[in-house]
Symmetry: C2
Subunit: 237 residues, 2 copies
């Protein structure tokens, strides 16, 4: 059963798309619209609130509610947390093999701080070169606390997205990441693995991943070729 406010939201959307309500126009008042849709005013307002958050309506207190042109959808926006694999696929590339190195290490001070560990605690470090169209396009280093990862990496064949691996094998759903966007120096060894063409430039994402309860669960470095991927973001005040 669809929620009523969701139905109203979709009806409003289709009215906007079909041109029944045009861009710039003011909607009839909430009381009137609620009556027309046969719902309570609060229910109608729930629908409006969602469309306002989506940037399709502009609500002005004491004035009215206006239809505004939707901003273009950002293809593969950086705000949207996604795996490198899905970035490759959404860039319409043929994802190739990813050479893997997996080892246990003791964690550095930086990583310890990011993951809430003590320096020297054992961690699992996973390094991968990702290829597409037979070329390296990304280099990733993922670090997970040994305590958290346990033997999951040893017992199972690890494959596919790390994010879904976390959910299915460790019961931790990764829903947030704090990322620092860096431009690495050319002398960075990891960066050089990707510098095969003169017009290639590389972006580095230093990321801390969190689960639903905001616990830090993974630290990662992702080197990504900027001549292959585009990075977009919507900024608001």
């Amino acid at each position: 059963m669809q929620a009523k406010h969701h139905v109203v939201k979709q009806q409003l959307e289709s009215m906007m798309e079909s041109g029944r309500i045009r861009i710039g126009e003011r909607l009839p008042s909430e009381v009137q619209m609620a009556k027309e849709f046969g719902v309570s005013r609060e229910t109608f307002r729930s629908a409006v609130r969602i469309l306002e958050e989506e940037g399709k309506l502009l609500v002005k207190h004491g004035v009215g509610t206006f239809v505004i042109p939707p901003l273009p959808v950002i293809p593969s926006s950086l705000e949207k947390l996604s795996s490198v694999g899905s970035m490759i696929r959404s860039a319409q590339l043929d994802e190739g093999e990813s050479r893997v190195s997996l080892k246990t290490d003791s964690c550095s001070k930086d990583v310890a701080e990011a993951l809430g560990l003590e320096p020297g605690d054992p961690v699992i470090v996973l390094e991968r070169i990702r290829t597409a169209n037979a070329e390296p396009v990304a280099y990733s280093i993922n670090t997970i606390s040994k305590k958290l990862a346990g033997e999951a990496f040893e017992r199972g064949e690890f494959q596919g997205s790390l994010l879904s691996f976390f959910e299915s094998q460790l019961g931790r759903k990764i829903v947030t990441a704090d990322s620092e966007i860096c431009v690495p120096l050319h002398i960075d060894r990891n960066c050089q693995r990707l510098l095969l063409h003169p017009q290639t430039t590389v972006l580095l994402l230093k990321q801390v991943h969190y689960d639903e309860a905001n616990n830090p669960v993974m630290y990662s470095l992702d080197y990504l070729r900027n001549d292959v991927f585009t990075f977009r973001i919507r900024r608001t005040v």
Copy 2:
């Protein structure tokens, strides 16, 4: 007069901060809490919804509402639209003079598309080198439709943030920007203006700015030194 749900929200926050409710704990049920706060259940829920969006509470249908550790506040997050000037200030640098060039030009195909103009339409182009601590730290190129800008740039002394200039002089409040994050090649002329030190790297933001009604009003290129600025972003699924 503060809205009741806002008061409740702040009370909940102070209870979390003071440790009256601890991280990981379940809140009493909504019915009970509403009674304790002396408000209706819907009002209490409004407060909870805001705290959930802020990542301080986790609401599980049929289970309960839980206090979760707040994620660290991101200093000068990229998602937050801000001027280069305020980026400089929040990096605790002494903003110096910015050499300015201002001219009228005819707009290129890319800019035309971004601003909804025709190629060749007249535009105002503002170029600035921003300095801090007596060094160049950013190079900006801002493009505005001549039709929109009118004589605002000629009549007034332009100073301070472009964003506030837009609001006060043109009556357009810039609230959104779509940005592409790029790593420029070293041979990029604008990039080279900033490459004075061997350890300097440069990030380029290609941005389209929109007003409240989602009209594109400005196109800008911002070259920013990554050894001076850090760029952070929070990503969610």
